[in-house]
């Protein structure tokens, strides 16, 4: 897993609530047996029409916006457990998703793929979306060590929470398998004890 410490980037505002994983990556693209290539179909049915023509009204197709931070409405990532959603977002180039609320499974999947979910207050989310609407080139800084997110224009900042174990994993690029394998003896003892 890639390490994550700080990131300063422009951001893309997706002011829609309850973005589900079927929108992030529709089921018909889940037939692959590896993790590659999902970025091309990220938000497929919002980015393109049925004939494959680009939908200019969709924010990801707006040439004024870019960067590796996605700022989205409340309850992002609800629905299916498909980790393909996280692979599609990282495949497209996102490293941070900001929302006022994340669905559980999506949040876990993101953290397991070096994609940082930053949960902010409704008020700060509104401010972020407003700032990006006014100023598409506005830079956002995410500092994982300090657990802060900052709109550099005007230096407006908010703290965010993250599980301390997961924070260590993200900063060092560790994943849970390494940790669980180190617990092999305890796990076997647990199994023996139950039988």
């Amino acid at each position: 897993m890639e390490k994550f410490k700080t990131l300063t980037s422009t951001a893309i505002p997706l002011a829609i609530e309850n973005v589900d994983t079927d929108q992030i990556i529709p089921a018909r693209f889940l037939k692959a047996t590896d993790k590659k290539g999902f970025g091309a179909n990220l938000f497929r049915d919002w980015r393109y029409d049925k004939n494959g023509a680009s939908n200019d009204a969709f924010i990801l197709n707006n040439p004024n916006y870019g960067g590796s931070i996605l700022v989205a409405g409340n309850n992002f990532g609800c629905g299916s457990s498909r980790e393909h959603a996280a692979w599609a977002l990282t495949g497209f180039g996102f490293k941070v998703i900001v929302s006022s609320f994340f669905a559980d499974i999506f949040k876990g999947n993101s953290l397991n793929n070096g994609l940082l979910p930053v949960q902010v207050s409704e008020v700060f989310l509104k401010e972020l979306l407003q700032e990006l609407s006014n100023n598409p080139q506005s830079k956002i800084e995410v500092n994982l060590e300090a657990q802060t997110i900052t709109i550099l224009n005007g230096n407006r900042s908010e703290d965010f929470d993250i599980d301390p174990y997961k924070k260590t994993c993200m900063i060092n690029g560790y994943d849970d398998i390494d940790f669980l394998l180190s617990k092999r003896e305890v796990i076997e003892a647990f199994e023996l004890n139950r039988n």
Partner: protein
């Protein structure tokens, strides 16, 4: 405990956490599976049963192979092919190259790692959340995971069951454990007696419409009260199945005599003295009187009517006879625009061309009995394409054995072969662009049943009635 009389309207009581020796069903099962704890961090939770399918497992097998890690406990894994399988001509080679490759990969991975696979055509094949309970793999007090968010279904037996991502599938392969923070506890109590023609699907659609799609996020939910106590196991599975649609990782119902009777004599359930011993343990699992929950909701069964959804998330549901609310934020408007509906209008008399009875929510024998009972002696409307997709080979066999197939075919319905089918439309079972489908599945997200398809979630009874009438009707008026 709030009395029935004072709970006419839903009440939410957020309780401050108090240390209490009384335990909930969830606590008892969770605590019995904690292998280790990280200070100020997650716990190592032992997993009893790991269910896998073709879509979310290949990358996990690949990960293990790349890192040279073996599967630790292959005998605790059960595999089935369901998400990406055709529902016609299952005996023929699969036409779509990518789908065929994905299924072949599953077979290969299971063979290589000594995992039992019930592949396409096997008499035990079916949707993972239908076949595992009916084979007796699902039992009270277990921890069960699967790379599918509707794993919450198995909570109907008093198990802790939840969906996981593919990285976690790899973790369970490698260690039979997961690293997790213990979720908070939520209880939804519904007391009273359900009105006629109100099914378990209506109960859960009603609950979600009242508390919203993220009320359960961060929580594990227990369903309690007379309504669930009086429900069949099939009904309980329908309810627990949709826990994830209110954001809860899982839902649970206390095991009781209904549960034990369902499990007894199932193919892979404990037998004889071992079964009796298990029952003695299972009886200790229900929540202690006075145990504390972090959040509680109370509803009255008499307030629940046959339900239908009008929007693009499962919380956007109303009584079939009600109007679409006139609320209006941006996301709500976007949703109605997608559906082609107006705020404030009624859904009654809306023409519907597609009906789907199936999915891990409603594809068990009870669901087809309800539908057949209504359909018997009637003809489907000419404009309607009606797909019936059983949840498993066993359900399919039962449909035929009980003569329901004849009832359906006489009415013009098409009985297809088992699988996830048009619930997520990964295979060819897609609803065309712009068409409405009254569906017994669990998600009405944009494009869920096919690009541009518009889904209205409902019970098997409402779906069957829609197929006969070719439009949405007030089922209670017709039947009463």
């Amino acid at each position: 405990m709030i009395s029935m009389k004072s709970s006419k309207l839903a009440k939410c009581i957020a309780k401050s956490f108090q240390h209490n020796m009384k335990q909930t069903l969830f606590d008892k099962v969770w605590d019995a599976h904690v292998v280790d704890s990280i200070e100020n961090g997650p716990q190592v939770l032992y997993i009893d049963k790991h269910l896998i399918h073709e879509v979310t497992s290949p990358q996990a097998f690949e990960e293990l192979e790349q890192r040279g890690i073996p599967v630790l406990r292959p005998d605790q894994i059960v595999a089935t092919a369901d998400h990406n399988t055709p529902t016609v001509d299952q005996h023929l080679p699969i036409k779509d190259d990518l789908s065929r490759n994905q299924l072949e990969q599953l077979t290969l991975n299971c063979d290589k790692n000594g995992i039992t696979l019930y592949q396409l055509g096997h008499k035990y094949n079916g949707i993972v959340h239908v076949m595992a309970p009916e084979l007796g793999f699902t039992q009270p007090g277990m921890t069960i995971v699967c790379g599918d968010s509707h794993t919450s279904t198995h909570g109907a037996f008093g198990a802790i069951a939840f969906g996981i991502g593919t990285s976690q599938v790899a973790q369970v392969f490698a260690s039979q454990c997961l690293l997790l923070e213990k979720p908070k506890k939520l209880r939804v109590t519904v007391n009273g007696t359900l009105k006629p023609n109100v099914l378990s699907k209506d109960v859960i659609l009603y609950i979600i419409s009242q508390i919203g799609t993220n009320a359960g996020t961060g929580y594990f939910c227990e369903y309690a009260g007379e309504v669930f106590e009086n429900m069949s196991m099939e009904g309980r599975m329908t309810v627990c199945n949709m826990s994830i649609e209110m954001g809860a990782r899982g839902g649970m119902i206390a095991p009781d005599e209904t549960t034990f009777a369902y499990i007894k004599d199932k193919e892979f359930a404990p037998k004889g003295a071992e079964f009796d011993q298990k029952v003695t343990y299972w009886k200790t699992l229900p929540t202690d009187v006075g145990a504390e929950f972090d959040k509680e909701y109370f509803f009255d069964a008499q307030d629940i009517e046959p339900m239908i959804t009008y929007g693009t998330n499962p919380g956007m549901g109303v009584k079939v006879s009600d109007e679409i609310p006139k609320q209006g934020d941006k996301s709500f408007d976007k949703s109605l625009q997608y559906m082609g509906f107006e705020a404030g209008e009624s859904l009654l008399e809306k023409p519907i061309n597609f009906v789907f009875i199936g999915s891990c929510t409603n594809s068990r024998i009870e669901d087809f009995r309800v539908a057949a009972d209504f359909v018997k002696g009637k003809q489907k409307a000419k404009n309607v394409t009606a797909w019936l997709v059983p949840g498993s080979k066993q359900v399919e066999a039962q449909i035929i054995e009980e003569g329901l197939q004849t009832v359906f075919e006489n009415a013009g319905f098409q009985l297809r072969q088992p699988g996830c089918s048009a619930c997520l439309a990964m295979n060819d079972d897609k609803i065309p662009q712009g068409e409405y489908c009254v569906s017994t599945s669990n998600r009405n997200f944009e494009g869920r049943q096919g690009q541009g398809a518009r889904t209205l979630l409902a019970s098997p009874l409402v779906a069957a009635a829609t197929a006969i009438e070719g439009k949405i009707i007030d089922i209670t008026k017709q039947l009463n």
